[in-house]
Symmetry: C2
């Protein structure tokens, strides 16, 4: 890629902000409620940008649980969305198809342009973008915008290398999409500072979309991308499968601090230190996330690299028209 390359991308006309995909991650739940109130109070005006506020899993929200039957945010694979239907499908499977019909269909030209799905973590991760792409210039420019606008909030871009077909989370339904993950916050609790950061993050994202749509050129620059390499489970009892150790106190809360071979990893319940036996220093994240005990993840490890993102601007109407025609003729092939 040339450094002075300018990439022209289609206008973003439909944006979805989703909260309560996990019913006990409360910042997004209360932000959806607040936004709904604000909308009721605002005068009806013709807005060129359509922003949908979506409470993704109302039943789980009502019970203040992550999910009712199964984790909604693992239901958006091609296979699950398009699998056979039956009368006793779990609630979240049914709900994922509703959301896909409303915001997607995933992978189609009818899908919303951008999905921002709001999450909390018990890990000390600050504000993270989690995306399936390290070359989605829209998401990455939004990320840089938030980084500049919110200098007091530690902010990282995490990349899960998963194909579009295999991608499983709600944000994969949009043409562009990312999860906005903020912590630390216990599930079932709302902390004002975390709520305020999320509210600001969402507002800056929507601002950016408006700037973009109105023709602003965003200069090329570098983004540090943390690509997930592997998960590490807790040590467990062979028979009961119960965990036998907790995250080591020297690792707890040190998300994104480089973990070196032989650094303390776990402390067993009898007091013994277990060390990191990997050969490569990697960046830990999702350290001691509550919801991942059942998934067998004590922490995840990432490799960091610097990615150059090109300058971008919105396509002119002419460019967009030419593009749509090109797209149409491609589809005809």
């Amino acid at each position: 890629m040339e450094v002075d390359e300018l990439v022209c991308l289609p206008r973003l006309t439909r944006v979805a902000v989703c909260g309560g995909t996990h019913g006990n991650e409360l910042s997004g739940v209360y932000l959806m409620e607040e936004k709904e109130k604000e909308e009721e109070e605002e005068e009806e005006e013709e807005d060129p940008l359509s922003v949908m506020m979506v409470l993704s899993n109302p039943r789980a929200v009502q019970q203040c649980r992550r999910y009712v039957d199964t984790d909604l945010n693992r239901c958006f694979t091609h296979a699950t969305l398009n699998g056979p239907r039956s009368g006793d499908d779990p609630y979240e499977i049914i709900r994922s198809r509703e959301l896909n019909a409303f915001l997607g269909p995933k992978g189609s030209s009818g899908a919303v342009d951008l999905v921002c799905d709001l999450h909390n973590t018990t890990a000390n991760m600050g504000l993270c973008f989690i995306a399936y792409s390290d070359c989605d210039w829209i998401c990455m420019h939004i990320f840089r915008h938030l980084q500049r606008k919110m200098p007091d909030i530690p902010m990282r871009y995490i990349h899960f290398e998963v194909s579009s077909k295999e991608s499983y989370s709600l944000d994969s339904v949009g043409k562009h999409g990312f999860a906005m993950e903020i912590g630390p916050q216990p599930h079932g609790v709302v902390r004002s500072n975390i709520y305020t950061a999320m509210k600001a993050g969402v507002q800056y994202m929507l601002d950016w979309v408006c700037f973009f749509n109105s023709g602003t050129i965003f200069e090329g620059e570098y983004v540090d991308v943390f690509t997930m390499i592997k998960h590490i489970d807790y040590p467990r009892d062979r028979e009961t499968h119960n965990i036998t150790a907790a995250i080591h106190p020297q690792l707890q809360d040190r998300d994104f601090c480089l973990l070196h071979p032989e650094d303390p990893l776990f402390q067993t319940f009898s007091g013994e230190t277990l060390r990191y036996k990997g050969k490569e220093p990697l960046y830990p994240f999702f350290i001691n996330e509550c919801a991942y005990y059942e998934k067998g993840i004590a922490l995840s490890l990432a490799r960091k690299r610097r990615v150059m993102i090109p300058a971008i601007r919105v396509q002119t109407e002419q460019e967009q028209l030419a593009n749509v025609k090109g797209f149409a003729s491609e589809e005809e092939e």
Copy 2:
């Protein structure tokens, strides 16, 4: 009370340490598991002190939830324990009666001498003793012992002024009893530092009981007692009853820091600050405890006062015998 008074109290021969009364408060759950393992590994030896390790709510532990049907730690009132039984009693009601049969019966001479019930909170409370009495010299001397032995852990003694009949928690089943509450820790998560503090606290408590039983005299001294005065609920929407504000960032995590009239209390989801309208400065605690959203408690407030506790020692066998006789003749009356 004379400062040089020496109070002689009966030997403590049976002690119960309970964990998992709330199934998602994991320090106690894993401590029970660890203690069980230790016991299996230890040689059988005749111990004059009988220590029972009790997993209070195994079903809730299994599901990693606070409770299955109803909060077990509100089921130990005289009325609930002795109410009529029916085939469709909630699980925790049934379990409370089992525990009462095993450790009590509450209020009887057959009850265990001491119950220490282990809890976690999402509030930044350090290690707290929570008890129904401000003149239970056993509990208060144990508290002072832990304070001295664990100088790095902030430690407070909280007093809930509730009659023995109305007292509702598991620790009320013993002749002496207290909850050991440690935070901050998200429910469903185990943090190594919190686990280690709890493990040490339990060990120092058991050490103290052994010292006491073997005749050590514990000098009289002062204890700061925080007596609960009132609870404050979140501001709520009149129709939905949903909360409309979170704990103010300036109050969050400042448990046991004196709250003055007009200090910030809540921040609404639209950004407004709501202030403390009480007339008396009081000490806040259980600030933003996860499990209390459903109970309508955003924080509790306490008055602090200094209580002189007398010197104590165990009764000699002769004294104890005289006492039992006295007790027996009282019962005969």
